[in-house]
Amino acid sequence: MRALLIRDLRLAFRAGGGFGLGLGFFLILCVLIPLGVGPEGDRLASIAPGILWVGALLACLLSLDRIFALDWEDGSLDLLATAPLPLEGAVAMKALAHWGVTGLPLVLAAPVLGVLLHLPQAAQGGLVLSLLLGTPALSVIGAFGAALTVGLRRGGLLMSLLVLPLYMPTLIFGAEVVRRSAEGMATGTPLLLLAGITAGSIAALPFAAAAALRINLR
């Protein structure tokens, strides 16, 4: 399983591998919003939690179809399915690699981009913590959506439609953590709910995604 993780990370960092795609999108969004909305600090600060979380979510969505599509096209998904590695483990490792390439850079870049959006200093901790807890769920749910639509030509749109409703709880509680910490309120409840969504997704969805892959490979 470690071999698969290392291979996927290596592929992502090689030319054309897609590392930085999500991060670049997130960066562009956070630079453009103040230009579009105007420079008033109060107005930006009030929308910053939502913008940062929507941006992270869309950045994640951008690279989802690559999780399985490339392996499906070159035949390595067939070979992986017949390898000694359990397909559930392969799905989990590919989701983890996706998070390492997309989610983790967003977590690290978010404080800097929060400054661009006048996010109050008090909310920085909440932002990083909520993204750290929430983005793994985005990758795992996305891997499930990618597994459902693997093999479909131009399946990206269908995958977005399938995945976006499943992303909503993560988005709602993630943005709520940031908003509450910006206003100095207690953040325990949304953080716990966010962590619960992530834990539940990680526990259940690799099995669902592997089942979907097995059916799609027939």
Partner: protein, 210 residues
Amino acid sequence: MLQVTGLSVARGGIAVLEGLSFHLAPGRALVLRGPNGCGKTTLLRTLAGLQPPLQGTISAPAETLAYASHADGLKPTLTVTENLGFWSEIFGTGAAGVARALDIMNLRALAARPAQNLSAGQKRRLGLARMALTGRPVWVFDEPTVSLDAASVALFAAMVRAHLAQGGAAVIATHIDLGLAEAETLDLAPFKARAPADGGQAGAFDEAFT
């Protein structure tokens, strides 16, 4: 080693082969022949465990089979050694497996080259070399000699022969003569599935949910 009894296989919910039975002993190879579209690939995918048979049994568990499909499953930005190294870790055969696979298909000189810079025949050789590091007893090949020149076909035949000599077995779907003395030929044309009107299997479009 591999006993197939009364096997029917389907593609896209339509039966393509039925009533297929054969036995494969250690040290033997089975060459599948038949016109395009007769179900060779579907049969091989069923043997490999990628899809369930419509009817019949396959005695060997899918874990004893190594499958080489039409596609080589290579990553263009990884080098030859990295491509093989990944599969050797997955199959648990380590660096020795990589070295053996490099030698067996004469890939030493290309070891540090990214797979995207290889020619079609070299890619095929790399894809086939992967089989040598799986460590599994039954090898299943789907059209292995596509885009190979005569010398590479000979390399491939030698690799299969060495595997058979060690007590392995192979099922090979191919249109050319590999010159394998150990091989029996099975023509798939007589096993073509009958239409449902003639008593054949009805289409099973809900096969995904069985």
